[in-house]
């Protein structure tokens, strides 16, 4: 019997798959509950919520409580976004708990968006005010309703600081009174610096 080079490779690969356990690949990255429903999000938020775009937030590794509040506020129009309001309503109808759990289970890689190193340094010098709530690490405290802001997309962080400052994100939300009071003290010129700094933190 004549066996071609590629035929031998097939044999070798078969052996390799047997040795290294081909069965493990059958549980694909999309088998988790919520994964199929979360797929519509990846067009903007990246595969598994790993956004690569400045103004679009990373959802990977986001605490479920934070994800769910964001979706509920977008759906109710408390966070105004023509993009997110229809999608938030879709998420609420297609299984918010599973989708929140799916994104929470994804390992977050920091934003690949490049930020100006000089802005990072200016932001570092002004970042102490943020650590009062978000902690020295910036990782937040789920028990107090404070999110992890490290490695998040810089344009998204900048926009949120501005929306808090102008009281255009969830107006009247008691939980956000303190953060908004603090944001009002941040000069406009410092907002991008702080966003760049926290986005750069690993």
């Amino acid at each position: 019997m004549r066996v071609s080079t590629s035929g031998w490779l097939v044999v070798l690969v078969t052996l390799a798959m047997l040795i290294f356990g081909a069965g493990t690949v059958l549980a694909g990255p999309l088998d988790m509950p919520g994964a199929p429903q979360a797929m519509v999000c990846s067009a903007c938020h990246g595969f598994a919520g790993q956004s690569r775009s400045s103004t679009i937030p990373i959802l990977a590794g986001m605490a479920p409580w934070y994800f769910k509040k964001a979706i509920q506020d977008y759906a109710a129009g408390k966070r105004t976004s023509p993009e997110m309001e229809p999608y938030a309503k879709m998420v609420m109808q297609s299984g918010i708990d599973d989708i929140a759990a799916y994104f929470a289970a994804q390992e977050r890689a920091p934003s690949p968006v490049k930020v100006d190193p000089a802005a990072v340094e200016r932001g570092r010098a002004a970042a102490a005010q943020c650590t009062v709530c978000h902690g020295a690490s910036g990782k937040g405290d789920a028990s107090k309703g404070v999110p992890d802001i490290t490695g998040q997309s810089p344009g998204y962080l900048r926009n949120q600081i501005l929306l808090f400052k102008l009281d255009r994100r969830s107006p009247g939300d008691d939980q956000l009174k303190a953060v908004k009071a603090l944001m009002r003290t941040i000069p406009d010129g410092q907002i991008s610096d702080l966003a760049s700094y926290w986005s750069s933190i690993r």
Binding site: S4, T5, S6, G7, L9, V10, V13, A16, M17, F20, G21, A22, V25, L26, G28, P29, L30, P36, Q37, M39, V40, S42, A43, C44, H45, G46, F47, S51, R52, S53, S54, T55, I56, P82, E83, E85, P86, Y87, K89, M90, Q93, S94, G155, N159
Partner: protein, 418 residues
């Protein structure tokens, strides 16, 4: 071998692929004449097909995926109107298929010539590719015969409605047009690919003329009675461009390139210096030759959960070629259909239930060099059919939406091809 390199190894290894890699040559159709494991063939590497090919591999790497796409590179239609105004280069929206190859997709730069549904084979000339399931994402084809004189003038009358060399050539003609010249843009009757696309193009051409050829004008001959998408937002944007002469219910039925003249259904003759004629459209040719189109002979009816053709089993149709879903013919919708179809196909091949998934549509239009508008539609499945949950428009135009448009483009290009 640690866990991650093992995954990488398994991800990139498929039977034929590894053999060919060793042989150091590009894969050929004849390499796939026989099928050892389960195989999905995808026809068309655009927004739907590229996404479907990648996501089948993500969902189940044990399934072999062969993608048939004649073009060596992917050129994005979304953002290509910015090439006309000189805001972007065509290179900035041109990508290779290497990202798909890294996911183990076998990319063959060939054209599918026929489908044999009973034998479950795709013909490429004299050769044939067997499949277990076929995903057809052929985009649109132009109905040249709907405009008199167009078929014979295809090389001179530009559509620029499939981004690529025609986009670059139309930009060149626009730049070369003398100041005081007339640019005519004609819009076909719905349904056609990208409903807001012609109106975004109107903005970009008008912006270019306003800033570079202030004595020139743009005549828009629309077969539809009015702007068919983001109507009020485009009307507001056009207030900045008095050089636009928009004429609704002006279907173009004849073109005479020698006389540089088009004729409308009403018999009006309009002279041009530069013409951009977007022809009427139907599903891509393979959908017609393979009998996937419905009674209208133009578009393909599909199951709303699996995208399986209403006419042939084991063949799924996605993207602009489909009809019957309340969705626009957009790149974003094709991307969503690609994912849903990929999950459905993998579930069916594994005898698993098909999850209930609906598409979404996020669509930005650039109304100047720095401002954009958007429309968003989301959907759900109700009674086995796709129905709309909500449509939302931006309240106006802004640079912030334009930033989001850039973010969307970079994300979705990577979602398809990265």
């Amino acid at each position: 071998m640690n866990a991650s390199t093992r995954r990488e190894f398994l991800r990139t290894s498929s039977w034929a692929g590894l053999g060919l890699l060793a042989a150091g040559c590009a894969p050929k159709v004849s390499d796939f004449a026989r099928k050892s494991g389960r195989r999905v063939v995808v026809i068309g590497g655009g927004w739907g097909g590229a996404t479907a090919a990648k996501y089948v591999r993500l969902a189940d790497p044990s399934i072999e995926v062969v993608l048939l796409e004649p073009n060596k590179e992917f050129v994005s239609c979304p953002f290509s109107n910015l090439v006309l105004s000189g805001q972007r280069t065509i290179e900035s929206m041109t990508f290779t298929y290497d990202g798909l190859r890294a996911h183990g997709v076998q990319v063959l730069h060939e054209t599918a010539t026929m489908i044999e549904p009973d034998a479950r084979r795709v013909r490429v000339g004299a050769e044939a590719l067997p499949y277990d399931r076929l995903i057809v994402s052929p985009g649109v084809e132009f109905q040249w015969d709907q405009v008199e004189g167009l078929a014979a003038a295809q090389d001179r009358v530009l559509h620029a409605w499939k981004a690529g060399p025609q986009t670059v050539e139309l930009a060149r003609q626009l730049q070369a047009m003398p100041d005081g010249g007339v640019f005519v843009l004609t819009i076909p009757p719905a349904a056609y690919r990208c409903p807001p696309g012609p109106y975004e193009r109107t903005c970009q051409v008008a912006w270019y003329l306003k800033h570079n050829k202030p004595k020139s004008k743009l005549i828009v001959l629309d077969a539809n009675p009015n702007i068919i998408s983001k109507t009020a937002l485009f009307r507001a944007a056009w207030a900045a461009y008095p050089n636009i002469d928009y004429r609704g219910s002006n279907k173009v039925v004849k073109v005479e390139p020698g006389a540089r003249e088009v004729t409308t259904e009403l018999g009006d003759k309009v002279k041009y210096d530069v013409l951009n004629l977007i022809p009427p459209q139907r599903a891509g040719t393979i959908a017609v030759t393979a009998d996937l189109v419905g009674a209208d002979k133009r578009w393909c009816e599909v199951n709303h959960l699996t995208y399986e053709s209403a006419k042939h089993k084991n063949i799924h149709v996605i993207g602009d070629s489909t009809i019957g879903l309340p969705v626009p013919k957009s790149g974003n919708v094709a991307n969503a259909m690609g994912k849903i179809c990929a999950v459905a196909v993998t579930s069916l091949l594994n005898d698993k239930p098909v999850p209930t998934m609906a598409p979404g549509n996020t669509c930005y239009s650039w109304v100047s060099d720095r401002e954009a508008i958007a429309v968003v539609n989301t959907y759900k499945i109700d009674g086995g059919k796709v129905v709309q949950i909500e449509q939302k428009l931006t309240p106006g135009q802004s640079e912030a939406w334009a930033q989001n448009a850039v973010g969307w483009a970079n994300s979705i290009w990577a979602d398809m091809l990265g």
